[in-house]
Symmetry: C2
Subunit: 680 residues, 2 copies
Amino acid sequence: MDPLVIFTPSGKRGRFSVGTPVLTAARQLGVDLDSVCGGRGICSKCQITPSYGDFAKHGVTVAENALSDWNAVEARYDQKRGLKAGRRLGCQATVQSDVVIDVPPESQVHKQVVRKAATERDIKMNPATRLFYVEVAEPDMHEPSGDLERLKSALADQWQINTHALRVDLPVLAKLQPALRKGGWSATVALHQGHADMHERVLDIWSGFWEGRLYGLAIDLGSTTIAAHLCDLRNGEVVASAGVMNPQIRFGEDLMSRVSYAMMNPGGDVEMTAAVRDAINALMIEIAADGGVEATQIMETVFVCNPVMHHLLLGIDPVELGQAPFALATSDALSLDARDLDLAAINPAARVYILPCIAGHVGADCAAVALSEEPDKSKDLVLIVDVGTNAEILLGDQTRVLACSSPTGPAFEGAQISAGQRAAPGAIERVEIDPATKEPRFKIIGSDLWSTDDGFAETAAVTGITGICGSGIIEAVAEMRAAGLLDASGLIGSAEQTGTARSVPEGRTHAYILHDGTAERGPLISVTQGDIRAIQLAKSALYAGARLLMDELKVDKVDRVVLAGAFGAHISPKHAMILGMIPDCPLDCVSSAGNAAGTGARIALCNRQARAEIEATVRQIHKVETAIEPRFQEHFVAANAIPHATAPFAELRKVVDLPNPSFNTGGDTQGGGRRRRRRG
Amino acid sequence: MDPLVIFTPSGKRGRFSVGTPVLTAARQLGVDLDSVCGGRGICSKCQITPSYGDFAKHGVTVAENALSDWNAVEARYDQKRGLKAGRRLGCQATVQSDVVIDVPPESQVHKQVVRKAATERDIKMNPATRLFYVEVAEPDMHEPSGDLERLKSALADQWQINTHALRVDLPVLAKLQPALRKGGWSATVALHQGHADMHERVLDIWSGFWEGRLYGLAIDLGSTTIAAHLCDLRNGEVVASAGVMNPQIRFGEDLMSRVSYAMMNPGGDVEMTAAVRDAINALMIEIAADGGVEATQIMETVFVCNPVMHHLLLGIDPVELGQAPFALATSDALSLDARDLDLAAINPAARVYILPCIAGHVGADCAAVALSEEPDKSKDLVLIVDVGTNAEILLGDQTRVLACSSPTGPAFEGAQISAGQRAAPGAIERVEIDPATKEPRFKIIGSDLWSTDDGFAETAAVTGITGICGSGIIEAVAEMRAAGLLDASGLIGSAEQTGTARSVPEGRTHAYILHDGTAERGPLISVTQGDIRAIQLAKSALYAGARLLMDELKVDKVDRVVLAGAFGAHISPKHAMILGMIPDCPLDCVSSAGNAAGTGARIALCNRQARAEIEATVRQIHKVETAIEPRFQEHFVAANAIPHATAPFAELRKVVDLPNPSFNTGGDTQGGGRRRRRRG
């Protein structure tokens, strides 16, 4: 009988005749064993580890000579690059007798990669663009065919790739003949294999076996910032991250003011499109340099963004998104060439994938959150909230998923707040108020010390104490409520009512002084009644959106809450619940997903199958338009109080040791001391 | 029983319930009845003619009221545009009882169109790009979807188009939303439906029902000239034709000198590519203006060209085509965007189709000849010869087709001839020599008179008599041979040998004076021994190529000969046979195909199915490389004589009243008087 070959960890097994290369056996069994050179002993990606001895559970005994002897190719590779002890090259070692062979993780094509940079996340690698080494037949005058046609045959024969409709752009085609001749009729091609029924494309070509790597960019194109992660398409590793301000801010801080700019200024949309594309090109150049990568090695880019940014990126006037019925020009996912978007900074043949939009107010960013958090696969009912200038909200489980967006406005990002500022060094980001003394302490971005700690003044002197950012204002308002400085309606009490001189009159209302830097010529940072109102409006909108989806599903509570985006990364979930930003839920069922939209973008970048999956998922998501739902307004009004009085909130108060929420009664002194720090 | 509906001329018949629109019945039966608006009474393309009375052969009697009464839509159309007597709109008239309905040719989508301009030719219309009128659902906030996705649904529902992978370039997508709103949720789209498994694309969009037409360009990109026909994509009509010199001439007259230029000058290929693309853009603008067409209405372009021009058009260095094994970068047909070739003059979304190349020396122009002349469908053995600077030769029948190219050089085009010039006004294009007197007469381009006719001098004064073009030199040499001025080896006799003072010494050889214009300060136009040798080399190469293919098929003769290109259009087949340019064949089996390559380009332009067919045909054509076949050289040497002495040639001599082919014997006086004029 032929020798038995058993692969671990897959457990796949089969019998192969003596002399069969391990790589061949793996392929025939469908074992995930990598190879770029197709078994020619060049790429060393197919390393395996044979095991010897008795394997009772497999029912085999493996002899020392179960594989062929170490050969010259392996010896040369070991000498040149070093082969780990016990390792063999799967394309060189041949089966001699029964053997158990382990495929180490780094030799798997579809390896699970644990993210280290960016948000931690396992992503299964299945990139759309990969390298393939091929040996191409020489031209024959008796059977004339083009070099491209012989390359196609080689890809089909050596890699089982369907090259029937393979596309090669002319600039790459122009490189083909010199590359093949220089490489002695061998070449490495970067091949893009789309999902669904997209045609295969050769994106670039190098003579012989090319040792380089391909990279991709996951870009989160926000209204305010553009954030990018540069990923190694072989293992998903984030090799550099960078961000820039969206230059469209000069046309309008929020999305609707940009839509207005396009409506009021002929050509305004073209101007904004050019601005954002220029910024992306600059970001691409910067991140490639940061990562020590040639920009031409960037072959894939994935964008996630809200619908207005989506249209402005594509060069489509967003005017229809500014008025009912909020019709998107296109909602499906898009696969484009980089040149379609004038993205000249990266490889000219690079491909761009843009996730599908869910509705006119629920964009590709929300689709990316769905891809990352998979509400459609959840067994329990999950509410996922991603807060930006608009909040995207997903609610559902494996039976049904709903989505909406809610116009929270920019208050959560520190805008429209008296001392508000963007999250930047010097901004107050954490706040605690002692319920007994009503005295605050805070942290600023750029320092790990509390304002009451020794040495704070020295570190703060570097940046100054410049204002209060989104997470800071949310904590401040929640702490003010917890400390009895606010009543349930959101009214700031007077010094008499609150018993602290930090409560000062401001017009007909009061303000709470968080930090007075005027003695050092710094700013006076206080929370005004207007700030409280802005936060109330924002949190009511957010809450109302979530409630609307819950109404649609006819549920009164959710099993768990996932906070995504800045919310999860920078805003304390506990304070969010004190404020009533999100529906009640046991605090231990609230988790943070970090930058879920960015994670979704990275998943789509690293795994082409995920693209097909999210496209199918999005088609199944039921969209609820908040703008036309009368109940949204009802929920919005009802959600104005801090806190809204429902039973689970009492639970929460216990957890956070919340004092009696009226001005007249003091609380205990434990404050928010047990809060976890969320910023990663 | 339901009424019987019989369509003519197809004879298709079926029973349909009372009230069925004629257009619906036609569609269900697969009758070819046109419609752009999809049956909404807008486009009037579905006109039909009902017949009344007894139809014994169909077994029906048609009552006067077999169709519904003339309705308001038809009345309005008749008032606005006029409807021919007896005509009805197929989408409005409904079946009431048994009826016979004629579909006039202009109402058929796949009409056979008889060409009037360019070479006469019936082409079945099946253009890749057509207009479709659609009514698109309005956006619905409860079921949000993009305008594009609703357009796709409309195309799928209303036109049964597979829109699964429909592609819309971003600039067209940017026009979608305004077009749909302006058109009250209706639009006309220019839809490109490729052949094979290419994806459908929307190339342009107009609001509402657009009355315009789409156009295409068939471009014959030669080494020397670029010729274009502008065709109406609805009916194939050639609305304008134009040509320009190929500006690459400044880099080298013939192809190999251009290849050398690219080899010797770094960037030379880029320079030549830019030059030819610029010229094509200029030609596009000119031809659109000539045809009274907006350049943006040009949506399709088909190119045919030799391999070197093919690569230079595509931006590929042609260096490999200049040396064995003459490897093409790509041989398959190409479907491109106009922008890929920097063709900015026409619609930015226009598609470009380039026919496949057959081999390194046998290009897309030869494929176009095969598409036009269909040797693969011929029942008898046909030899097709297309002469340019290279000759492309096809030989075969429905069982097998062979192809080769032969390096004839530019002599047939008047180059390398002492008094040679391009075919232009003033050039001698027809020659007769009286075998008795040895006196010549000739015609020049621009005049219909013989040089011996009254009034010739006056008409010739307009242009002058400037030189001798390709067809003129061929006729001159053949006539010199027929008149006994040349011996079989091609030697020009002295005045003593020939008995005419027009035979004058020139160095060690002689020349024959065709026209002495020196008295009027014009040129002395003579045929030198060098000219004879150049023609002998060219015709030997041509003949040797044809013989090589005959050897390959193991045949000694062919059933018929088709002369294509300049050969068929300008060169007299009879003189070609006297010279021995082509293998012997009864003269009545020699036909001219005119500009077959150009015709092939127009067929591919007007009929997408023809593209698939020629791609399949080319794969079946067996290529013979003349450069490496020793027998080519043998045939070449053997073919040097004029005429080569084979039996059929004796036949030919009778037909053309050929005198005894030696210096010593005079012939009769009938000369070439019975020759047919070939120039159309």
